[in-house]
């Protein structure tokens, strides 16, 4: 029976296009974040912020490097590619070469990788820019400088027990009262609970009010495709 169980789980892996949406947040799996920023100072800070919230971090300096490390250009399916898996990409907007926006478009335009949530960071609170990113499929938009509270909140609503990251996004989905979602300590222990595939998880947080006044994040998009 055990062998059958294992076998069918692998079968399930075969069927899914994005490996990451199986959300294997068991004891052995930390949230793995790919951080992209051309500034070394910012990379150091975001790396520390993520590590302190118990994430595994890989920090790279450009969009090109990020795609490379993801195995983007290789002609493999995500199943065959055994190496590098991330649960979240967090990228600066303004970068030389490929901007964060261009990286976002590439990720969301790829059948292999578009399941990976992408968060954009920018030092400028420009509404048009925020809208553009959200419309292109960004999960969230954080105004720099990034704080511990930003990262905790992000991790909590994306990977906590009240995780609501699904393909079917609802309007105002993100507005959750912080006091009602698990604290970071609780999030850590909740990662050992049975994994819930994002596809099957339905969200209904519409009764909660937002308290994220200090992050200038706006979510304007309505339900996504699918």
């Amino acid at each position: 029976m055990a062998i059958n169980g294992v076998f069918s789980r692998f079968k399930m892996l075969d069927k899914n296009e994005g490996v990451n949406n199986l959300s294997p947040f068991t004891d052995s799996h930390e949230v793995h974040v790919l951080a992209v920023d051309d500034s070394l100072v910012d990379r150091k800070v975001i790396e520390r912020l993520l590590k302190i919230t118990s994430c595994k971090v890989t920090a790279v300096e450009s969009g090109r490097r990020a795609l490379q490390i993801l195995g983007f250009d290789e002609e493999k399916t995500s199943v065959g590619f055994d190496g590098f898996k991330v649960d979240l990409i967090i990228t600066d907007y303004f970068m030389p070469g490929m901007t964060g926006y261009e990286l976002l478009k590439k990720i969301k335009g790829s059948s292999n990788f578009r399941e990976i949530p992408v968060v954009i960071m920018s030092s400028e609170n420009v509404l048009a820019r925020i809208d553009r990113c959200l419309e292109e499929g960004a999960e969230d938009f954080i105004v720099k400088p990034v704080k511990l509270s930003d990262v905790r909140r992000l991790k909590s609503y994306m990977f906590g027990e009240n995780r609501i990251h699904t393909k079917d996004r609802e309007f105002n989905k993100r507005k959750i009262d912080v006091s009602l979602s698990p604290s970071s300590d609780e999030v850590m222990s909740n990662q050992s609970s049975p994994s819930i595939s994002p596809r099957s998880f339905s969200s209904s947080p519409t009764s909660h009010s937002t308290t994220f006044l200090d992050s200038h994040i706006r979510r304007l998009k309505t339900s996504n495709h699918d």
Binding site: S39, L40, V41, K44, V45, R48, F94, P145, K147
Partner: protein, 161 residues
Amino acid sequence: MLGLSVDRLRADMNRLLALLFHQGVLDEQFLQLQQLQDESSPNFVSEVVNIYFHESEKLLRNLRGLLVDKEFSDYKKMGIHLNQFMGSSSSIGAQRVRNVCVAFRAASEQNNRAGCLRALELLEYEYCYLKNKLHELFQIEQQRILAAGVRYPQQQQPNNP
């Protein structure tokens, strides 16, 4: 006596920090950095700040190199350097430096070379001031750590003053 020294050093540090906050040289992002420092990363703040110094001095050199050229016209390139400088300054809480960058960028967007030169002077001044003060802060911190390290063995000997 060493016990007093630790407390005095801590007071000195707090006083210097308070001054820097009051002057607007630092903002709460610097406090955020301090919160990220702990036993697992005991030198986090000074590591990040040293990277910032290194990057900033490069950026300042680039900016000056661009502007000394009388035929300078690549304001776009200057804007890129300024954005970087602004970003890293805001990430460590260097508020005044960041604000000068904002003004500098405004002059740059107007292709105002004279204005840019003035802004650069001010930027170099603010940066120098910040660097000196942060070095002072780290020095006091180092002394405090040393003094605290020597103090603890004495605490085990109850007869020592």
